[in-house]
Amino acid sequence: MMENFMRLEFSGLSANESFARVAVAAFVSQLDPDLEELTEIKTVVSEAVTNAIIHGYEGQAGNVVVICRIEGQTVEIMIEDQGQGIADIEQARQPLFTSKPELERSGMGFTIMENFMDDIEIKSELGRGTTVRLVKTIRSAQVLGH
């Protein structure tokens, strides 16, 4: 069974959103995901990292951490910030809910994460930060019997 680990920490700059997607996709590619699975993973990483930058740090300096663990065909991705935190997680998860409509946020970030991954867990503490844990089992390689 394959086991692998990586931890990525970077400045909370919007230029790093694409970098984070590419890095996670390169790490996960050892599980032979198909293009759809890979795009889904890139999308959710983009959502959570963007949230850390916009909502967590609100334009202030701060680092974002992305941790990936592979066990067998399953990848666990954690995205962490030490920013504002979320007051009401229930509300934040509602489709179309956003606290920053003035920034033209769509409020669909968490809904996309829920839909594209098998599992999502959100931990947050006001003033201390937020951790989003996402889990997905890559099925394409299994079908091919790798």
Partner: protein, 116 residues
């Protein structure tokens, strides 16, 4: 930059072609370039063509909905065309396809807008 934004005026329709990756970082580009066109000229309608859009997340959705508000405030119509499967999924999840028509091709969208 990982996104190119191309705009073209066809009749009273502004065609916006997105090439590359549309996320929070590159959404600003779309906002600026499209709003400059919308504010400077009297367009009625708008078509967003996504044939060469390789990646889009919910920040892309936000900037497109923002343009939709502007266009409809002025009584115009907006349409999307030529999206890839993963981009379509994001539009579907958000319910956007209930208010914005999606066409297979730019030509088709132009016809429907009455520009061809």
């Amino acid at each position: 930059m990982s996104l190119q934004v191309e705009t073209q005026k066809i009749g009273t329709t502004l065609v916006v072609r997105l090439n590359g990756e549309l996320d929070h970082h590159t959404a600003e580009l779309v906002r600026q370039q499209v709003d400059q066109e919308l504010d400077g000229d009297v367009f009625k309608n708008m078509i967003v063509s996504m044939e060469r859009l390789e990646f889009m997340d919910s920040s892309g959705l936000g900037v497109i909905l923002g343009r939709y508000k502007k266009v409809s405030q002025h009584g115009g119509k907006m349409a999307l065309c030529a999206v890839t499967d993963s981009v379509r999924k994001i539009f579907e999840l958000s319910g956007v396809l209930k208010i914005l028509p999606l066409y297979d091709s730019e030509a088709r969208a132009l016809t429907e807008m009455g520009e061809a």
